[in-house]
Symmetry: C2
Subunit: 333 residues, 2 copies
């Protein structure tokens, strides 16, 4: 686990798009972010208090989180002075970048000297077990998508937030770098060794109160040939009681696979549910989450109504509107 | 790739069961084995010429293969004298054990001094790419099972042998430790990082002659919740033109999962084919391979006839009888 709260490092991010991780933390765990820190020329602004390292220390920040991704996922040399200074002041550093903090000699040396931790959240730190397939107490919900990057993390986050608001017992379970940095823990599933994938998800979602819901972050898609094995491990390791189908209606082909068409929601349902029933005979599909960002409001509302009628399930855009009806559906189980 | 031919090291194997790897090499690549070498008390005998290291050197052996697995997959201290001596004489060593040659300081030191290689085939040595999902030339056949350890490797090996006999173009593609040691190369799929699983199988089965068949070794089962993600990566990364369904009819539950029933061959067909069609729209199921080792001859023949009638596909036990009808079915595509 990464110590919170954070100071969010924006570096020399050219724009807000490059600050996706920081934005996620601000939006979903604002209590984890005491402020932001930028370098000259930074084009991103989260609207948080801009702080020096000393001010952040004063405000109680424990970890500097690299909230920015530059081209190639590298740790920029221009960040080094500030990051070394942070370690000298006793901050830990956390990063989800492809290039690793632990491979930067100057950061490693400073961390050792000052007794600080470097968290590379892309790298598993646990020796996960082989999955046992044994039923666990408590309930689990998994978002599965017609494609990658259709809003699975957002859907689970929004449902968790709604459940917290209602006083229900729930935990968002991160399975990717961004989710891990936002919440401070999780399993970097795409970096887990093949044999232990399903076991890592069992480990992530252990026995719990009977009325507790794990909202498991989805990854990939059963229909995406590059990553379908990762998704399969989530379906069987997560052993969900409930599936949410996620879709982005304007996509013309699978992400990164120009020759692969996007399946329909019905095709997703027909594929995912039988596989999920193998690990949890009580699993049902409870609702549909549509990412309507590329539709106008009227168009979005009409599309959701059509999907709801066709599929006979609540269909919402949790970002545009609300996750409330998806939570209602979970609550009815 | 591991240099051939091999000297097969049987160590102090208590019985033939412990010598599974060596038996596989003897049965499937006899030309790769110049002889065997044992320690006092060894209870396994492959029926090959028992040789000293010097005799094996004389006979042209390049690599000493650890053909035995003891409890826990450890490298036994009692093997060390012989293994160090082998390195001193210029042999490479290859092992598929859980504990690694590279973690044994004495072996590493001897290998460095004498310029020899230590092959730990459980560990990938290639930085596999992300799968592209692009069609490749040539043809591919994948064995998928109702469960783990039902004879998928054996089926692919037997089909490859039959195709070689007929002068057809074929290559057995190993995806597990035993297969890699038998053939000298392959992908240790269960040890590959999640994101690269499907890509590793594309890498293993590249463009080839239009009339060439890759016989891809299956792993796990789509119905085995511990390993289904690995199987899924084979189905999508392999993009097979042909599936062989593999089954062991006397198993009462999934291997290692006492509460999970074994699916029927029809359930396997209904699950595997739609998933396979995603990566290769021309994929068909061509036949069924049944492991009848626990049935009497009459019982086996009757069972195969019944399966053949029920499924409308050739059903054979390639070990007990022959893989010829499975190859006939491939040849007809």
């Amino acid at each position: 686990m990464i110590d919170t709260p954070y100071l969010l490092f924006l570096g020399d991010a050219p724009d807000m798009l490059a600050a996706k991780v920081a934005i996620g933390i601000r939006d979903w765990r604002p209590e984890n972010a005491v402020g932001q820190i930028s370098l000259p020329g930074c084009g991103a602004d989260l609207g948080l208090t801009e702080m020096t390292l000393a001010e952040a220390k004063q405000a109680g920040a424990k970890t500097v989180v690299i909230g920015v991704a530059n081209r190639g996922g590298m740790i920029s040399q221009s960040w080094k002075d500030l990051l070394v200074q942070a370690l000298e002041m006793g901050f830990d550093i956390a990063s989800g970048l492809h290039s690793l903090l632990r491979d930067e000699n100057d950061l490693v040396a400073a961390a050792q000297t000052h007794g600080c931790r470097l968290h590379d959240v892309r790298i598993p730190t646990v020796a996960y077990p082989i999955a046992t397939g044994k039923p666990r107490t408590g309930k689990r919900c998994l978002a599965v998508g017609t494609d990658c990057s259709v809003g699975k993390m957002y859907t689970a986050m929004a449902m968790d937030a709604e459940m917290q608001k209602r006083g229900m017992k729930s935990t968002f379970r991160a399975t990717g770098q961004t989710g891990i940095l936002i919440t401070g823990g999780g399993v970097p599933l795409d970096a887990v060794i093949a044999d232990f994938m399903a076991g890592s998800i069992e480990y992530l979602t252990p026995d719990n109160d009977e009325d507790h819901w794990d909202l498991i972050e989805g990854q990939g898609s059963l229909f995406h040939v590059s990553y379908s094995g990762v998704t399969m491990a989530l379906v069987h390791g997560g052993a969900p009681d409930a599936l949410i189908l996620c879709h982005e209606p304007t996509r013309t082909h699978m992400r990164g696979l120009p020759d692969y068409s996007v399946p329909t929601l019905q095709e997703l349902a027909d594929t995912a549910l039988p596989l999920a029933l193998r690990a949890n005979p009580n699993c049902i599909i409870v609702g549909i989450s549509v990412n309507t960002q590329h539709l106008g409001e009227e168009e979005a509302v009409a599309y959701l109504a059509k999907v709801e009628e066709d599929m006979g399930l609540p269909a919402v855009d949790p970002y545009r509107h609300s996750a409330a009806r998806l939570v209602d559906a979970l609550d009815a189980i």
